[in-house]
């Protein structure tokens, strides 16, 4: 899940309007930007969509790290296309957030100052090529679990962005699984790299869904508003059930000694991740928090002269066109 611990806002609106709004959502209607909505709905969505967009953008960094070192031209082209998709996904989501009345610059500023978060997963490093496979397979796999139901979310622009993203995301997961299966079927050293990548990415991927339902204080209102469709634990269970057989197929071992098939629930029993690590990463103490934020700040600051230059050129050209038109008249 790319949005974790999104705090839902209390809302102080007219109870009659609120009831009518809730009835529209319950009837499965989509809410469009200019229609009336509770302030809490608007604020919670800005936070959630913004965090989701930031995650897509920051998510380019761990993978972009390997573009120049991809082992073949084909893998390089694939990785480049995937990272370009992530940029696109960020842009779809920023635009959806902007329809709620927040500006793009404001969102960027909130990311760069650390006031808005991005998914904890991107604060882990990609140490070798097998990690690129693990990211596609596990991280995109976990993201898809959350994004597929969000296609039905109540806010129109968010739902439409999710539909586009889901169409493209399946390629991301499949190329990752394809990559890691080549490693798992390669030399013993390559197989060991694949196993090591799974070992390191397994628990951080489980954390992507956010804390367990009993500790997830913001779920109820968000679920009533249909901006959250499933609980964190439901999605995590689904992810484990889907992923464990995929790991076994590759001859890889899920790094959990308590992993056990449970006939009664027709799913796997598994160990919880270390939640203190999760909270620590969110606080900024993960292995790459500082590096990721610095990379975004540098990109923004180093690009300033270029953005301003293009804007100045656009203004000048428009003025020149206007002057030429006046002269012609």
């Amino acid at each position: 899940m790319y949005a974790q611990m999104v705090k839902s806002e209390a809302t102080n609106d007219d109870p009659e309007l609120l009831a009518a709004f809730q009835a529209r959502i319950d009837a499965g209607e989509k809410i469009e930007p200019k229609e009336w909505m509770p302030e809490g709905y608007r604020k919670t969505l800005i936070r959630q969509i913004g965090q989701h967009a930031h995650s897509e953008v920051v998510g380019q960094l761990p993978e972009g790290n390997w573009i120049t070192r991809a082992p073949t031209l084909e893998r390089k082209a694939i990785l480049l296309a995937k990272v370009q998709d992530e940029a696109g996904h960020g842009l779809y989501l920023y635009c959806a957030a902007e329809t709620l009345g927040v500006s793009r610059d404001d969102l960027t500023e909130q990311l760069l100052s650390g006031r808005m978060k991005y998914s904890s997963i991107f604060n882990y490093p990609t140490l070798n090529w097998a990690d690129i496979g693990a990211v596609g397979w596990l991280v995109d796999g976990a993201a898809i679990m959350n994004q597929v139901p969000l296609q039905r979310t109540s806010f129109g622009p968010y739902s439409r962005a999710m539909i586009r993203i889901c169409k493209e995301e399946s390629f991301h997961q499949r190329q990752g699984y394809d990559l890691i299966s080549v490693m798992a079927q390669g030399t013993p050293e390559q197989k060991a790299m694949a196993q090591d990548a799974l070992n390191r990415f397994w628990y951080p991927s489980l954390m992507m869904f956010g804390p367990g339902d009993k500790d997830s204080v913001h779920s109820e209102q968000s679920m009533a508003w249909k901006i959250k469709i499933n609980t964190n634990d439901e999605l995590r269970q689904k992810f484990v059930d889907q992923t464990v057989p995929q790991a076994h197929y590759l001859g890889l071992t899920v790094p959990d000694e308590h992993l056990k098939w449970n006939d009664d629930k027709e799913g796997w029993d598994f160990s919880e991740p270390d939640w203190s690590e999760f909270y620590d990463v969110l606080k900024g103490n993960g292995p790459c928090n500082v590096e990721r934020l610095e990379a975004r700040q540098d990109a923004w600051n180093d690009g300033q002269w270029f953005r301003d230059g293009l804007m100045a050129h656009a203004k000048k050209s428009a003025d020149r066109r206007r002057a030429a038109k006046v002269a012609a008249e």
Partner: protein, 94 residues
């Protein structure tokens, strides 16, 4: 951070013979770059054969609160639909 690029709405014709359809929006300093960005952001997988970009500020939209007066009158005009009229079977297809 105040020199933000303006917002553009993007419309794409998916296939020959279809209408352009709104697909989303993006920021760009001018129409030329809006076009290039639209191509990169919205047609990475063969989604289109033609693109329109329009400054968002140039779009006039109907207000949600006008929905009733704008669209409800046509509900009452059932005679605008062919099914309003009973044509005897003997007449054949019409």
């Amino acid at each position: 951070m105040s020199n933000e690029w303006p917002l553009w709405e993007v419309f794409i014709r998916g296939q020959h013979g279809l209408n352009h359809r709104h697909v989303g929006s993006l920021h760009a300093p001018d129409s030329e770059l809006a076009m290039r960005h639209a191509r990169d952001v919205y047609t990475r997988r063969n989604e289109g054969v033609s693109i329109w970009v329009v400054p968002s500020s140039e779009i006039t939209a109907s207000a949600p609160s006008d929905k009733g007066p704008m669209f409800e009158p046509s509900n009452a005009k059932v005679y605008r639909h062919p099914t309003f009229y009973d044509i005897p079977d003997e007449v054949g297809h019409m």
